[in-house]
């Protein structure tokens, strides 16, 4: 017992007291699966204690109030650095449905209050945190000098870059392709539409809200885009050969149905959109919206590979990277807020900021592992963990 007391007290000092009270940025997230949540709790319990059984985790996690889990230190290739906090809202992975929306908004509000209390100058909202708040920024607590960004602009940038890269890898001519966007009227979906519609032959837009679909259709038609809308994926008159899945689904349940046999499919959902039972044998699926911070990222305590469960080092969801990039740039402003304001110009601006600090599109991968040229650059000189170890974890990630 004496050892554990000393150990925990020492760690408490390291993460709680000796460090400066104020941080540059905060990242608000939640775990995508019970497996991911179990791994986070296992790190907190420490290696000397037996991991909690699955049923205990499901009993305990819903009761944990939102709070900081670890510090995050990042470095820019331009020499800047920034210190942040990862704050988990502890939304249970099986409570993302609409039935829990008020409970979950309350959790995000409390997580936001933690970020404000910690003195974060900018806060990125990850995953459902962003979806819950993007139309409700007025519901965030009084925020003094703290600004919030959904991070969706950089997510859009990495989705678009990923589509272009995959098309190049697969030798698919984007200008002749039919693009389907599922979740087209959401902030990320509509941003992707605005960036990619001028580059493709035809656009198919799918979403649940027909009024929003019609408004987006009218906007695109005014720009001369050939566009078709449907709330039912089976209703489109043509097959898509490029697909972006950006729907706000509580679990991976999307079945695409009619798409071209060799379609390129970007699953940009958090949680993932595509159902594991979806039969797309020849489709080229990749996980979109992910970037890599090449200057380096360190967690204290060490959640390396636990919060960022990707088969490559220092890969993070674009929404969280946006806050990091803005912190490194010392631009503490709410770059992405609301829904439907993401334009090509804003995406270009955010890409430039990110690239200046060495934040680029992550190597492409999917549930089966790395894709294409991802193999060439996968470790960035770091080989502290084998590919087998990385892929033995699920690819779900809160980062």
């Amino acid at each position: 017992m004496g050892d554990s007391v000393a150990g925990v007290t020492a760690r408490a000092r390291t993460i709680g007291v000796d460090l400066p009270l104020s941080v540059d940025f905060a990242l608000i997230g939640h775990q995508e699966s019970w497996r991911a949540a179990a791994d986070v709790l296992a790190v907190l319990r420490g290696p000397e204690r037996t991991p909690l059984p699955d049923d205990e985790i499901k009993d305990i996690l819903p009761w944990i109030p939102p709070r900081a889990v670890c510090h995050v230190d990042i470095e820019s290739i331009a020499g800047a650095n920034a210190r942040g906090l990862y704050i988990d809202s502890f939304i249970p992975p099986d409570r993302l449905e609409a039935a829990y929306v008020h409970e979950n908004i309350a959790r995000v509000r409390k997580a936001a209050a933690c970020a404000i209390k910690a003195g974060a100058k900018i806060v990125s909202l990850g995953g459902f945190s962003s979806i819950l708040i993007e139309g409700n920024f007025d519901q965030l607590p009084e925020r003094n000098d703290t600004v919030f960004t959904t991070g969706n602009t950089l997510t859009v940038a990495f989705i678009v870059q990923g589509i272009q890269k995959m098309c190049a890898l697969e030798r698919l001519n984007l200008s002749r392709s039919t693009l389907l966007i599922v979740g087209a009227t959401g902030d990320v979906g509509s941003g992707c539409v605005r960036c990619l519609a001028p580059l493709v032959r035809r656009v198919l837009l799918s979403a649940r809200n027909v009024e929003r679909l019609r408004r987006l259709e009218a906007e695109l038609q005014a720009d001369g885009v050939q566009v078709e809308i449907a709330t039912d994926l089976q209703r489109f008159s043509a097959e898509a050969d490029v697909v972006i899945c950006a729907a706000s689904l509580a679990s991976p349940s999307l079945l695409l149905g009619r798409i071209a046999p060799d379609a390129i499919v970007c699953d940009a959902g958090y949680p993932k959109n595509l159902s594991p039972t979806a039969e797309m044998l020849r489709a080229k699926v990749f996980f979109g919206g992910l970037g890599q911070i090449t200057g380096g990222m360190k967690f204290t305590p060490d959640f390396h590979g636990v919060l960022n469960r990707h088969p490559f080092p220092d890969v993070v969801h674009g929404c969280l990277l946006e806050g990091m990039a803005l912190a490194l740039e010392h631009r503490f402003e709410p770059f992405s807020q609301g829904r439907g304001f993401i334009t090509q110009e804003r995406v270009d601006e955010m890409e430039t900021i990110a690239a200046r600090h060495g934040i680029y599109l992550a190597p492409l991968y999917n549930a089966d592992g790395p894709l294409g040229d991802g193999l060439d650059a996968r470790w960035n000189g770091r080989e502290d963990e084998s590919m087998v170890e990385r892929l033995s974890r699920t690819v779900e990630s809160s980062f």
């Binding site: 007391v5 408490a12 993460i15 907190l44 009761w63 944990i64 889990v69 670890c70």
Partner: protein, 252 residues
């Protein structure tokens, strides 16, 4: 020091015809035992205090807790069961011993941390949950007492926050030492199953597996208690990432 209410544990038969009465009997027995233990703790605290105002305050709290214990006993009578108590039951005795160690060390703030932050968090949260599902006046009594215990926590909070402001690291180290002692015992009490034998308070077999019959569960009571504890530590100003680690390291 002798408690004012007989704390000898004598197994009682349930005489109520209500099928859920034996469950309420055990819930009331645990609550009554906790209240008597709190009363004993405050009486001990009063004997350590020198300031007459603090002595009076501690004795007033002790009387209040005895009143709570009597209220739980009365609720038992209303449903036709005798509510026993046993402050010498193994878990409760360990909690009492932890408090008495603070008394021995004349550690006033340690006493407050054990009683007001740890034991009262448990009481406020679990009584609130029972208050929501308890029938009639039994539920109302639990809810009322939960609110009163919450006021005790608020009272102690101002004192403890001022103490922490003097030396946060020293204060947090003290809370952590007491956490390991007290919260480990509470976590064992709150475990979904009593794996190390009878708790010596339930009148027959362990009540936990039957709690679902009165719309409760051991997991819910544990979750609510730990949540309340974390929130109370937040109010004290201890960093959330630190207290999260403490709580996740508790036994299950």
């Amino acid at each position: 020091m002798e408690p004012l209410i007989d704390v000898n544990c004598s197994p009682m038969e349930c005489t109520s015809l209500s099928p859920s009465a034996p469950i309420w009997q055990d819930i009331l027995a645990q609550a009554m035992t906790g209240e008597l233990l709190a009363a004993m703790n405050y009486t001990s605290l009063s004997e350590m205090c020198e300031d007459p105002a603090e002595v009076a305050d501690a004795l007033e709290h002790s009387e209040c807790e005895r009143g709570h214990a009597a209220a739980f006993a009365a609720e038992g009578r209303k449903i036709g069961v005798d509510v026993t108590n046993n402050v010498d039951a193994k878990h409760w005795k360990r909690l009492r011993d932890a408090f008495l160690r603070c008394i021995t060390e004349r550690d006033f703030f340690g006493c407050l941390i054990v009683q007001e932050i740890m034991l009262e968090s448990f009481a406020v949260a679990s009584y609130s949950r029972v208050g929501k599902v308890g029938p009639g006046s039994l539920g109302q009594t639990f809810a009322r007492i939960a609110a009163e215990e919450g006021e005790h926590v608020d009272h102690a909070m101002a004192i403890l926050r001022a103490e922490r402001a003097r030396d946060a690291q020293r204060f947090d180290d003290k809370v952590y030492r007491l956490h390991l002692d007290v919260m480990t015992t509470l976590a064992q009490m709150l475990a979904k199953e009593c794996k190390d034998g009878h708790c010596e308070v339930c009148h027959a077999s362990c009540v936990k597996p039957s709690l679902f019959e009165v719309s409760l569960s051991a997991a819910e009571l544990r979750g609510a208690s730990l949540q309340q504890y974390l929130k109370t530590l937040d109010m004290l100003g201890i960093p959330g990432e630190v207290t999260l680690t403490w709580v996740t390291q508790l036994p299950v």
